[in-house]
């Protein structure tokens, strides 16, 4: 809020000085001092959003496909065959997911599949490397993307150690079912990178992420900084791991093993 206020004041000053007549700030200049911006009343807020995934409950390709479908439908993610594909949420085996093979593992665990998605890292390398701030970190811990600004340099893909990002090598609409688009959400254009956005657009209107909603309780989403939150409760009660902790990115997605 503070941030916005400051921008307002700065802006008002500039307008008064007549420096800003034709600039991007013109909106308020014309519409007068009454204008303001704010949250939706229903908005869900947090200091640090995080997700806990109970892999005992969603541990097969089929169950994870349900989550992926919910996510991809909500965000108009195309289904592109081949190695130039795009995915926000997908399934992978233990070794692929955690890069810490253990021999003689319990068979159930060895065969288990794990839902992978962007970790919304606290020290996100993708944010660090992006030359345009098209990938940026919000105050609530969500690593978001501004597809309007992305130049498609793919530095963030090299930077992300979790393979969470996909590049639109081609026109994504060629691989979308155009009749079944979610009309409340855009598609992307070719030449930009995309990834899971922790459903910011849903949180803004008081809804849980699409995958969480589709998971029948296997995925828990909440504020990591709030000791009373649901995620903190499950974290206290279960043994969880995160992907590649040694790299220090501090993922915000936890896996109950």
């Amino acid at each position: 809020m503070n941030h916005t206020r400051r921008n307002f004041l700065k802006f008002a000053g500039l307008t008064a000085a007549g420096l800003c007549v034709a600039s991007a700030g013109g909106a308020l200049a014309v519409s007068g001092a009454g204008s303001a911006i704010r949250d939706d009343e229903k908005v869900l807020k947090a200091k640090r959003w995080a997700m806990v995934i109970d892999t005992k409950k969603v541990g097969t390709k089929e169950t994870i496909a349900v989550l992926a479908k919910a996510c991809h439908a909500a965000h108009n993610v195309p289904d592109i065959p081949g190695k130039q594909n795009i995915k926000w949420l997908w399934a992978a085996g233990f070794e692929e997911a955690f890069d810490q093979p253990n021999n003689y593992m319990d068979e159930g665990l060895e065969k288990r599949e794990f839902p992978l998605l962007c970790n919304h890292c606290t020290n996100a390398p993708c944010v660090r490397v992006c030359p345009t701030q098209a990938t940026y970190k919000r105050a609530d811990g969500i690593v978001a993307m501004d597809y309007h600004r992305c130049i498609g340099c793919r530095y963030c893909m090299a930077g992300c150690p979790f393979g969470a990002r996909s590049f639109n090598f081609m026109e994504p609409r060629l691989h979308l079912d155009l009749a079944a688009l979610n009309k409340e959400f855009p598609t992307r254009m070719r030449g930009v990178v995309e990834k899971c956005n922790f459903c910011v657009e849903r949180l803004a209107h008081g809804k849980q992420p699409a995958c969480v909603e589709a998971s029948q309780g296997a995925l828990v989403f909440g504020d990591l900084s709030d000791p009373a939150s649901e995620v903190r409760k499950v974290l206290r009660e279960h043994y969880t791991i995160r992907r590649k902790p040694a790299l220090g990115t501090e993922p915000g997605v936890y896996y109950i093993i």
């Binding site: 991007a24 013109g26 519409s31 009454g34 949250d39 009749a179 855009p186 598609t187 209107h205």
Partner: protein, 129 residues
Amino acid sequence: MKLYNGGKIITGLVIFLGIFLAPLAYNAGKAAYIQPKLKMPENEKECVESKEFMRTKHMQLLDQWRDWALRDGQRMYVNSKGKVFEMSLQKTCMKCHTNKAEFCDKCHNDASVTPYCWDCHVQPEGLKK
């Protein structure tokens, strides 16, 4: 004073001026520009801001909406009359302006601008292959 290569220079200048002024000559005598007729929303009389403002400044408004919604995470816009709108091209603008071809394209085509909003944002008519 003598102008070296005077002939060539002057010919060059004449050709340059000719090309430079060609568009003016081409349009001379044509009817003045007429604002295109837009298909206005039926159920809604007032836009987010005044008509004049929207006509000339909607791009700046959208630009700011984008940054406010995406970067600042503030999704609601309170206009000068105190009315609240969600800052969203697809969920707000296009809910009233339900036809891109009859609305957006009209002026954009006349002004010969092709904003690439629709490369990502889904137009209200829906998309066809």
